[in-house]
Amino acid sequence: MGETLGAYVKLIGAQGRGQASYRVSFWLDLTGTTILVGADLIAILVIFSRVPLLAGFSLKETIVLFGLAATGFSLADLLVGNIEKIRAYVRLGTLDTVMIRPLSVLGQLLVLDVGFRRVGRVVYGATLLGVALWAAEVHWTPAKLAMLVVAPLAGAAFFCGFFIATSTVAFWWIESGEVANSFTYGGRDFTSYPITIYGGWFRKIFAFALGFAFVAYYPGLFLLGKADPLGAPAWLGWLSPLVSAAVLGLSALIWRFGVRHYRSTGS
């Protein structure tokens, strides 16, 4: 166990040293990835320059949801975002080399290219969330403070699950391209807005069947002390760690199933 951990630490350390040696590229990447989150924020600001309320939510309230989604997502992206590269590994046959090493496949894939540059986005999301909560003049209670810690972590676990589960598509569908993005990046975009804007069946599938409403919407309502326009009780936000645990557990099962069905492309 200690030896395995040591191997991972060494792999991550080597990655860090490697990336830091290309200084300009590293800083460009760091600022670039941080600005990218900014693009979505600009879109929200422009939209609210046209309307005071979006489906019953003000700008400040929407940015609280956006900040929750951004923090959870960017944490997950930092931890397991690399898994996206599995498409290339499967196509090029690199996965074969990973499989014959005495470490877990998932663990190795995650440390093969650690995205230190993604740290900027986590800081950005958390700052945005803080500013929005301050601007929204939230009356803090111990329960709300606890939620402020729980929600981003649960959101991160939730998105980790989706990153892992959707990446397994590559085992069966080699040229799957951006399909996984529909649920990871698409899921982040979905949770960045109040779920009240979405139409009936679309909302049912993403918010409830896939559970995206528990990333930002319900925890956000609890933090804001806002009654759900759709009539759900306020405590629903506390279910988000349970939903995340379920998603993470399912994704682990899907991953194991996928790895067992891996067939090398032979290239």
Binding site: Y22, S25, L28, D29, G32, T33, I35, L36, G38, A39, D40, I42, A43, V46, I47, S49, R50, V51, L54, A55, W173, I174, E175, S176, G177, E178, V179, N181, S182, G186, D189, F190, Y193, I197, Y198, G199, F202
Partner: protein, 282 residues
């Protein structure tokens, strides 16, 4: 075609017929190349459709049953779904052919070809766009039409105008992509440049929200100061008939200006690059 050496100039093509035949052949190969990526095409348009739903609901919530910035609900719907279809046609993201070849040194073969690299890549891109019109543009439009009440253009002239505008949009976007990729002649690694493009292209082209949502001065700045609106907003606005004919013709005029300017820039940049180029060995 005579023997080709490293010092060969590009005047080995004898007449216009031969030139056109060559360009046609390259375009056809561009079409065939993308026709072989069938799974990737399905993956790409499925993703476009998913994001189409997200953008649709956000913009419908903004309109809230009324008109916003001169668009009514059904016009916004056509706007969103046309945009989702056009992403693949103009190939907004993910073109690294040129920068990859510069990094690996393969670009040297392109420099030995009898056609100028800009013409060569533009011809191949035209073929790719032809394929994308069929297999990337229509699937999102059909999906949008299936689930929402899209605005159908009333004026017959809108259709040829839209076709011209899309053609120009492909050229303008190609120009942008070529310039971005050409940065690799100096930087080799253009990940940072690509990140900036990813950020800017969606905002300035009208993909995330119609540029008309911005104050007039900002919209004018984008139209005249950046090529963004010329590669998405123009065909989208023309199709939804938001403006009277003269303004729509004006949009096409701006597109023509940008297309010419960008192709000229590509040509200039390519020439400068060839002067300082050191082929990467290996």
């Amino acid at each position: 075609m005579g023997s080709v050496t490293a010092t060969a100039d590009r005047s080995t093509i004898r007449n216009v017929t031969e030139l056109l035949a060559l360009i046609g052949a390259i375009a056809a190969s561009g079409f065939r190349r993308f026709a072989t990526y069938r799974q990737a095409t399905v993956a790409a348009f499925s993703t476009n459709i998913m994001f189409g739903f997200l953008r649709t609901y956000v913009l419908l919530a903004v309109a809230g049953g009324a008109a916003v910035a001169g668009y009514d609900g059904s016009q916004l719907l056509t706007y969103v779904w046309t945009g989702q279809g056009l992403i693949g046609v103009v190939m907004l993201w993910g073109w690294t052919d040129l920068s990859d070849r510069i990094r690996t040194g393969d670009i040297v073969t392109d420099l030995l070809r009898p056609l100028h690299p800009v013409v060569n890549y533009l011809a191949a891109d035209a073929g790719r766009a032809g394929y994308a019109i069929i297999f990337r543009f229509f699937p999102p439009i059909l999906a949008g039409a299936l689930f929402f009440d899209l605005y159908l253009p009333a004026d017959t002239i809108t259709y040829p105008l839209f076709a011209i505008s899309v053609l120009l949009a492909v050229v303008v976007c190609f120009g942008c992509r070529y310039l971005l990729n050409a940065a690799a002649y100096w930087l080799l690694d253009i990940r940072g440049v690509n990140q900036a493009w990813l950020f800017l292209s969606g905002l300035m082209s009208g993909l995330y929200f119609p540029i008309r949502f911005l104050p007039d001065w900002a919209a004018a700045l984008l139209w005249f100061g950046t090529p963004g609106p010329s590669f998405l907003q123009a065909p989208m606005d023309i199709l939804v008939e938001r403006d009277p004919l003269p303004i729509r013709l004006g949009m096409i005029g701006i597109q023509v200006l940008w297309a010419v300017l960008l192709l000229w820039l590509c040509y200039v940049v390519q020439r400068r690059a060839e002067r300082k180029l050191v082929i990467q060995g290996g």
